[in-house]
Amino acid sequence: MMKHFNFEFSRMKKMLLPLGLTTGILQLLFLYFFALVGRFDASDENNMLTSYSSVLGLATTGTMCVLAIYGTVMASQYLVRDYVGMNKSKTYLLPISRKELFYTKTKAFSAVISLSMIVGLLISNLVFMMMNVIIPLIKISPLPHTIDVVVSTIACICLTLTIILFSSFIGIKLNSTVQGIIASIVFVVFLSNLSAITLMSYEFLSLLVAIAMIVLVTIAGISMGRSIDKNEAL
């Protein structure tokens, strides 16, 4: 099983750099955007943007929204496409349990997404904190805010992965890569508000919600694998 995982991971690892770079650049841009809005707009509505936790929550939500859609586009290329239309025949002709292959591909894809996001988010947040020492934009308390970064990073990865995988499963179920991408946009619209509010004000709740979502998507993945095992390539 691990051998298959390594093989699939090696085929997907070319996504690591573009995904990691996109994550890092987006997070940094969003952090500066919201920090600058909070610094230069003194209106009451934007008062909350003077808090690093709020800026981090909003920036992480922004990054999650873009990455969820970008990740689903990647998933449609590396995962969904093997299970739709005539491509199913090629996948199903490989002499390996279809269920096992699907789980391996999904795990390898999830690992690539998670790894690139961890690196991208942590580096960009670290860069922002260090730059804030040189050019202060916002007040940052090192220890509590480091915990904020870790919690929001985990929550962001879990939520992004959940959206990507649910959308991919919908794409496979509906036999269309495009439907999967549309599903990801719908999920982003519904989840972005929830994510922004919880990440800004109730970080640990967002972490719990994100972990619950991962459990749900895992159950959906197991069910998808079983259905693929019995599926036909018409």
Binding site: Q77, L93, L94, P95
Partner: protein
């Protein structure tokens, strides 16, 4: 001696009966041509043999191994196939496609992939993307992939499609070489090409199959050879319905 047996297999899709086969036996050293009009059930039958479709009733077996969900993996190791090309391979390089095939079939990768490609007359770089190859070149590549694990049964669905005259000759020669210790099943609408390579022919119409006849028997029985056999069976099926 390998035998592929298809026994009382039926398959219906969306309430329509696509296949109704009583009994078919394929033995090795034979090149079997499966001919029939569009929608006759040829590809459905081949997909059933590969486990891509599950029959509603009946058995498909290679020697003593009956095809089912548990034995599907072992079954697939014995089969090499070329079906209609999927677009998921277009973004892969030739090397990536071969690496995947060799990995899952548990084969040792050669030092140079070019040796595999030369077998089917392909003179291209292994780094070339499959999407940039012509239809005929892709057919040759898929044939190279299908035969790479030395399968006992080779299934070729329209293998002459898109091939230039040299490609057709090369494919025919390859099929003849490969049939020495294999069962080769070919579907094609090109009777001229089939006539040159097949040893036996089976006509399919409305999901039913004719009795298997050797090319010698067909030429003896029908003045216009394979075409006569084809029309004779189709007429008999139509008159029955």
């Amino acid at each position: 001696m390998t035998q592929l047996k298809i026994d009382h297999v039926t398959k219906s899709i969306d309430g329509r009966n696509i296949l109704r086969i009583d009994n078919l036996i394929f033995k090795n050293n034979g090149i079997y041509g499966l001919v029939g009009p569009n929608g006759a059930g040829k590809t459905t039958l081949l997909k059933c043999v590969c486990g891509l479709l599950v029959p509603n009733a009946g058995d498909i077996r290679i020697d003593d191994l009956i095809l089912n969900q548990e034995t599907r993996t072992d079954f697939l190791k014995k089969i090499g196939s070329v079906f209609a090309q999927s677009d998921s391979i277009f973004d892969l390089s030739i090397k990536e496609l071969l690496e995947e095939h060799y990995y899952f079939f548990g084969l040792t990768a050669p030092k140079k992939w070019s040796t595999i490609l030369e077998n089917v007359g392909l003179d291209v770089s292994e780094k070339q993307m499959i999407g940039s190859l012509s239809l005929g070149m892709r057919q040759r590549l898929l044939l190279a992939v299908a035969i790479s694990h030395t399968p006992e049964i080779l299934i070729l669905d329209e293998p002459f499609n898109g091939l230039d005259p040299d490609g057709v000759v090369l494919t025919k020669n390859l099929i003849e070489q490969l049939s020495q210790d294999k069962i080769v099943i070919i579907t094609s609408h090109s009777f001229a090409d089939l006539n040159d390579v097949i040893t036996d022919a089976i006509v399919m119409a409305k999901g039913q199959t004719s009795t298997r006849k050797t090319i010698a028997e067909i030429n003896e029985e029908f003045s216009d050879g394979l075409m006569g056999f084809y029309h004779s069976f189709i007429n008999s099926v139509q008159s029955l319905n």
